[in-house]
């Protein structure tokens, strides 16, 4: 299967390991990812949109216009990019005046967009196009006894008018995926609560509190680790976990993996190839890594 691949800005900095693991598992599952040539920032609703609405839509539309020429579905592993690009599709469909203006802007870049690109989250591709059966066939090192708290957050499943491949309040696909990998899914309060998103930049205390509650509810439900499907959620829950610990004077120590890293481990891919050395909360103590290390020695 072949897709136009939109990596998103964080793939080049704070979430390099996410992209590494996406590419590593794609190889195993025969998914061909063709990067959208010359892609730019997705348009970042709500960050850019709130300041320059039409410019934000034009930025998104430029990516979509390039992808339209590729004649494939577009997939991105970032939930925020997924939302922005999908939302742009729906805005341009409903508002012909905006569509005309945006196309005038695109003309300056020698492009035009007709609205024909289907935008898919990478988790949707894995779940709906590849399917659990094929994934099961590729599992070489089942994550037996690992308790995984899958974290859906917001834009992967909401708003359901745009991000519609699972239930907005009780999604299950990441849990089903974890089970297929041999792990035990953990049910917990925080799985669709917001991590605080970009409030970390402006109102840090609020973000720290929101992410703390998610982490603690997963930990208290007995999770050995969490699995995310968005680089910003991952940043708040993993890279900022130490800040949460010191802000509230508590100990959490809960590894947070990108769901693709978890898949990679079950497929028997080297931890380093999945970028696990880049995760801030060390995942070394969770069992599949121990299993992977043991099997490497033999």
């Amino acid at each position: 299967m072949k897709y136009a691949f939109y990596p998103g800005c964080s793939s080049q900095s704070t979430a390099k390991e996410y992209e590494n693991s996406v590419k590593a598992i794609s190889e195993v599952l025969d998914i061909e990812l063709v990067e959208v040539p010359g892609w730019n920032c997705c348009g970042a609703i709500d960050a850019v949109y709130s300041f320059k609405p039409l410019y934000s839509i034009a930025l998104a539309a430029r990516n979509l216009a390039i992808a339209e020429k590729m004649q494939m579905d577009l997939t991105t592993p970032c939930s925020a990019c997924y939302f922005t690009l999908s939302k742009t599709n729906s805005i341009l469909k409903e508002d012909s005046e905006k569509k005309t203006k945006v196309n005038e802007a695109l003309q300056t870049a020698g492009l035009s967009y007709n609205g024909g690109v289907k935008v898919r989250h990478f988790a949707d591709v894995i779940f709906s196009d590849i399917g659990l059966q094929k994934i099961k066939e590729k599992v070489k090192a089942p994550l037996t006894a690992l308790k995984v708290a899958s974290y859906y957050g917001c834009f992967l499943v909401r708003p359901s008018s745009i991000c519609s491949f699972d239930n907005p309040e009780h999604p299950t696909h990441l849990d089903d995926l974890a089970e297929t990998l041999g792990a035990s899914p953990v049910d917990y309060y925080g799985k669709t609560r917001c991590c605080g998103a970009s409030l970390g930049f402006t109102d840090e205390d609020i973000m720290l509190k929101m992410s703390k509650e998610i982490l603690l509810s997963a930990k208290n439900a007995g999770a050995d680790c969490m699995a995310t499907a968005c680089p910003l959620c991952h940043f708040n829950l993993d890279a900022r976990q130490k800040d949460i610990e010191s802000h509230f004077n508590i100990r959490i120590d809960l590894p947070v993996l990108h769901f693709t890293q978890l898949m990679g481990l079950a497929f028997g891919i080297e931890p380093k190839q999945l970028g696990l050395n880049r995760n801030c909360v060390s995942p070394n103590n969770i069992s599949p890594l121990a299993v992977a290390r043991a099997s490497n020695k033999t």
Binding site: A44, D46, M210
Partner: protein, 202 residues
């Protein structure tokens, strides 16, 4: 919880005591034209939005109150509220609203309106959006360190210390790219901006 109840009662009393403002219908009409504002008259004040809101604890007015205030024409209070900035657009409210009011989408539009009408309560909030735009418009992509440095309050010693910790942590993990990667055709960005620029936002 008692504290919450007290806060709610006080705000409700303020709203009830506020006479319909002269330009009530004007503001309501303006909001109804914004994305997310179309169905604002459908609100039945059931409170599902406020009940599910994960950032309600930090807002001055709850989502449900903001909708009521828009209906009452309380433009100044709405546009200078902290609510519109603290909303993280998680869409929990929109998912639960039985009347299909697009609250989260409306919050993005109200942020823009508050910037245009110069009514932003806390400057850091609009700065974030301005700087985010500036970085993206310069490189074509988000370069996190540039955004971070622009936002950093150089007079806040404690803040600097904790941010230094985060910075070093990211650096150690190879997650900080100090040099921004630009897209090849950065010239198209300003051309696109010119074509899409809206009144009073630059």
């Amino acid at each position: 919880m008692l504290h919450e109840k007290k806060k709610f009662d006080t705000v409700t009393k303020t709203i009830q005591a506020t006479p319909h403002q002269g330009s009530r219908k004007d503001f309501l009409r303006e909001v109804m034209k914004l994305p997310g504002g179309e169905k604002i008259l459908e609100c039945i004040q059931c409170g599902s939005c406020a009940g599910g809101c994960p950032t309600r604890f930090a807002m001055d007015y709850s989502p449900m109150q903001i909708i009521k205030m828009i209906n009452l024409g309380m433009k100044k209070e709405v546009l200078s509220s902290s609510t519109i900035w603290i909303c993280s657009t998680c869409y929990t409210c929109s998912s639960r609203c039985p009347r299909d009011v697009g609250f989260a989408t409306l919050m993005m539009a109200l942020k823009n309106k508050a910037i245009q009408e110069n009514m932003v309560k806390n400057p850091i909030n609009s700065k974030f959006h301005r700087y985010f735009f500036e970085v993206v418009n310069k490189y074509g992509k988000l370069h996190e360190p540039s955004l971070f440095l622009k936002l950093l309050d150089k007079t806040d010693i404690n803040g600097l210390r904790s941010n230094l910790g985060l910075g070093l942590r990211l650096l150690k993990k190879g997650k900080l790219e100090m040099r921004a990667k630009k897209i090849e055709q950065t010239s198209i960005l300003s051309a696109m901006l010119e074509k899409t620029d809206e009144r009073g936002t630059s």
